[in-house]
Symmetry: C2
Subunit: 660 residues, 2 copies
């Protein structure tokens, strides 16, 4: 299934009609970026999450948590979110309309490039199918930045130099901060796209929802932007729970919030969303994974950063074993998770042909990440980041430990004592204090925070400079330090315990995005009848497994419906009785749209001989057998112990009853 | 198991040590009323919710939703929460400490009564075991109002009249508003309990967390205080999804928030909590339930409001059929849910002897409820409201419909047209408009909003008053209406469709409270060794079903552990390998505390003959069989196809290996 003939509007209509989801507070006019899942969407989500729990938490014995959403400001200040989790916004000075500044610049420049291409085509008298020249490196990125409002495209030819400049700006649009965006807006004379009004200077907007905890109004809180922080804060208790053994992973499924400046693209960019996040804690000196051998032959389609930097988008199909060996993927643990993510996504029904793993370019990485691969799924919006697999290094545990003075480390007895040479600092208090007086504390803080490598450098600087060197203290001022105040030397150290801060490999799943992609990949229309949409969810995630319906409203059918439904329920097979007074054909069509894989019909023959028909959604083929047999067949189908093809081999196809 | 010897501190210590839950943001000092669930707490919760979904959603084919938490202020203004979802707080004028005013008054008066009792005992020279006289009606209520800070109890005898006055105030403490509480504080000279400082006048504090949606700062939002509103707003889509059939129910599991003034009592009164709510929509003229016959013989322990008003707490043990027939419980649907709630709670392990259903007194009811029964569970904190079963009547649907002009009604074709006499209003526009001029609209709005009964009254007033009457218009002013402007008369109306706003019966589950009560009910200590705590969760909700451990660290055991764990995993039986280097006895003790019902041990005999031991938590009895057999036995135990008693009958008890 490709999206060649795919019509998003038609699918959206189906999804709304069947209440997979709908804008929240719809009767109040709705709020952008907030959606409710209706019964089929909610069941689909529950099934996907259930499978996620099985596939990750149970399979790998992860430690699942359920943490608070409301988070005191101090925690998110430490994690960097208060300062860095921001976008730049600017305002139409007359209408007050607010734009995300980078999207705005991007949209306007793209519109101008399109206008240029149009003008050039007109000039050449050709109507070539190609529109604006694709910007390869940009095109390779995810579609979240797809233009919302870019204003009218007018056919105006640009100078070659201008065109080149626009293209170059677009290729690195993620690199501009507020000043940079201001400069672009001025240089390119960018106005509010629809009104042409002047724009305000971009200002920073924090994407977290703010609130206040308790009655005093003094304790500021934010709704968490990710579930990860709650996991990091519990690291010590988790390690203890795991009997101090490494490596291990924690996991959490839960709601997170981002107060987007201008949400769009349906379920893809929303203000409230369900995430499923894994934090795998690993020894920074050994990122091998004990189960890597089980996955090493699995091939994945990769888009490494160097390929993107060459302006290309060709995918590299390679086994994860080779990818790790060739250092394309940094380590076994990251590689292991890429495969596990692949297996999960394809199991729930994502088309493997429309799934790739793209490495982040350094300018895209979140403030905490040191390497990142996104599982991207192709949809009608382009390639969408659905699972981020980041190596957050020791960032989070380090900053929280520094702030709280709580040791967030692993202590491992060494098999034998380790003797090593280490650069060490000794402060000669008798001279240090009296010399520096009030500044002593600030200088001491600066010195004790130096790494070994920095100590070595400082020692060399002092040696080269007659035993003294300037140093910037924590009060911001510079002071001279001399070799009678401090001794810096290489000393022999014997350690019996190794103490380290673990690195964290984090696969982070955006459940809403995955569900939306799954709906697109599952959707098709019946040959020759494009009104008849089908959602071919795999049985394991289908919202309802079986429809139970009577051929008509005839009273004699009623007891059979209840009996069959309760048999199925006892086997844990979710089912719906549909006894609305419409034709069997219409009911089947409705359930095709709901993605229900199987349908049972009770008819007059049922009353005579206790047989019922079982219909499969994708083929619309049916069999007719005794109730007991059908129930058993269905049980095996739902539990994946048999396939519909096997069922077709074993039982005769039933065609007599005209249903379609 | 009673709580006779129950020591809450010891259980709390166990629950913290085993990380069932812990204060959120603990390394930052924590925030009152916010808790994280650790791995066993989280698994327990997931299992309870899974069972809830099976028991309610699947069994009754409810329409499950997953709605937004962030809610625009307008929605909660309409629902009444912005105005009425408040508590009264007052402040220590010197320290700034904030108290919930009713709790404060209650605590201080109770302390004085205790002091009085002490003084009287001392006077009589007796040291009777009884403390302050119990206040029956109050004692019957839930423990949420248990004193936090009541200040020192000093033995001061009170006048008999004062004592009586205190007792009477305490019995109706829920009835006081801000003015009432102010008056009490002055009259009884109530001061800040610990400092003795003066208190501020009580001010109203809204319990919803406030935030702002989007970048403009103009759209105020609140975190939802209940999941119900999202369900009501989707009523129209739900009814359509249900093929316009009544009755039906929607359901939602999710997080809700209440910014408590001073949270306490652990998991019982928190600021963020998981709820599971059902909204069952029913015809107000027929609240019978189609499946009532299935439950009518179930006996429940009820505490009706009239018993409480008599100052008594004796429970009435009665079948729900009789209770509904005798009008103790208002209708079948409410009765049906009380039984379903009872079955659910006892299935997950709540002790039926410590479970009762208490009817709300009229002064306790939430602003939207017209009748309410709480499932209360007895814990060391007293009787705790864990599931509220409220009849919210048509309140919510009516107010949202009025505010949004969206019809939230059911339209039912009548079996035959209904002819009736109805009071109707006709406006004579030619006279009405010109007479009232600018006020015409406001008067028309007032007239058209009159009910039939009010129209009849108005008609009489006009008839008695020479064909005219004063009426208050929607602009607040009074105008004269005459019988040449309007005609009010009894007309014959023929209806083919009946249109009505459904009533809503709402069972609302506080999952955290239920989990805490379950932990208390499941807890006991081994005979003769009070250090050895056990949590006897039913297998179906136990966080982990089976422990897999080696007898020692011997290398030959390792392959068996992995093999057994993967066999269990394939059967969906959650298990943990514990190969920490502690004795088997200590590992069993740890898993008793985690509530793991079964434990497998691999020992030297395993290596020789492939047999393993299986131990049951509560009895500590073991059997020894081949791995294949043990796995099958475990499968049947976990799926509740067999019991440990049956296993004991079938297989010989194994005693040789010394474990305890």
């Amino acid at each position: 299934m490709t999206d060649k003939k795919f019509d998003r509007a038609v699918l959206d209509q189906l999804l709304t009609k069947r209440f997979f989801f709908a804008p929240s507070f719809n009767i109040y006019g709705g709020v952008a970026g907030l959606y409710d899942y209706g019964p089929p969407g909610c069941a689909l989500q529950a099934n996907v999450l259930q499978l996620w729990r099985q596939h990750f938490v149970l399979e790998e014995d992860m430690l699942e948590l359920d943490c608070s959403i409301m988070t005191p400001a101090e925690v998110l200040k430490t994690s960097g979110h208060v300062d860095k989790f921001t976008d730049w916004m600017c305002k139409d000075l007359k209408t007050g309309e607010i734009f995300r500044a980078d999207h705005l610049v991007e949209g306007v420049l793209e519109a101008r490039l399109e206008g240029d291409a149009e003008a050039r085509r007109a000039e050449q008298g050709t109507a070539a199918a190609a529109t604006a020249a694709p910007v390869a490196a940009k095109d390779a990125k995810d579609a979240k930045k797809k233009k919302a409002k870019k204003g009218k495209v007018t056919a105006v030819k640009l100078d070659d130099a201008v065109k080149e400049e626009y293209t170059s700006v677009l290729a690195q649009i993620d690199n501009y901060d507020g000043a940079g965006l201001t400069e672009l807006i001025q240089r390119f004379n960018i106005k509010s796209p629809e009104t042409g009004n002047d724009l305000s200077e971009p200002v920073e907007f924090n994407l977290m929802f703010e609130s206040s905890i308790g009655p005093t109004g003094h304790l500021k809180g934010y709704l968490r932007p990710e579930t990860a922080q709650g996991q990091f804060l519990n690291f010590k208790k988790l390690l203890e729970f795991n009997n101090e053994r490494m490596p291990f992973a924690s996991a959490q499924i839960g709601r997170s919030f981002r107060n987007e400046i201008s949400p769009r693209a349906g379920l893809l960019r929303v203000r409230e969303f369900t995430m499923a996040e894994i934090e795998h804690y690993v020894d920074p000196e050994n990122k091998d994974h004990p189960r890597f051998a089980e996955v090493k032959d699995q091939k994945l389609r990769l888009l490494p950063s160097n390929v993107q930097l060459d302006g290309k988008t060709e995918l590299l199909e390679i086994s994860i074993g080779d990818a790790v060996e060739q250092k394309i993927v940094d380590n076994q643990t990251l590689g292991y998770f890429l495969v596990r993510v692949y297996l999960f996504l394809t199991r729930i029904g994502i088309n493997p042909e429309r799934l790739r793993f793209r490495q982040h370019l350094s300018n895209e990485m979140a403030h905490y990440a040191c390497d990142c691969w996104d599982a991207e799924i192709h949809t009608s919006y382009g390639w969408i980041e659905c699972v981020g697999c980041a190596d957050r290094s020791a960032y989070d545990l380090t900053v929280h430990a520094a702030r709280t003075k709580e040791k967030l480390v692993v202590r491992e007895p060494l098999p034998e004592p380790r003797v090593s040479q280490q650069w060490q600092l000794e402060i000669n208090k008798k001279v240090f204090g009296p010399t520096l007086k009030k500044a002593a504390k600030a200088v001491e803080e600066a010195l004790t925070s130096l790494t070994e490598c920095e100590l070595e450098t400082l020692s060399k600087r002092m040696a080269d400079n007659g035993g003294k060197a300037d140093i910037v203290a924590t009060d911001g001022a510079t002071y001279e330090v001399t070799d009678n105040m401090v001794t810096i030397q290489l000393a022999t150290v014997t350690e019996h315990v190794r103490e380290y801060t673990p690195n964290v490999i984090e696969p982070s799943f955006g459940i809403g995005r995955i569900l939306y992609a799954l709906m697109e990949h599952s959707y098709w229309t019946r040959e020759g009848d494009e009104q008849r949409g089908v959602l071919s969810f795999p049985t394991v995630v289908a919202p309802t497994k079986c429809l139970v319906q009577p051929l008509s409203n005839h009273k004699s059918f009623t007891p059979f419906l209840g009996d069959i439904a309760s048999r199925l329920r006892r086997l844990g097979i979710s089912n719906t009785i549909d006894n609305s007074s419409v034709s069997v054909g219409r009911t089947y069509a409705r359930n095709d749209e709901l993605g229900t894989p199987f349908g049972i019909t009770v008819d007059f023959q049922t009353v005579q001989d206790g047989t019922i028909t079982l219909r499969e959604r994708d083929s619309t083929k049916q069999i007719r057998e005794k109730i007991e047999i059908i129930v058993e067949v269905l049980k095996d189908l739902v539990n994946e112990r048999t396939t519909w093809a096997d069922v077709m081999d074993k039982y005769p196809v039933f065609t007599q009853q005209e249903l379609e």
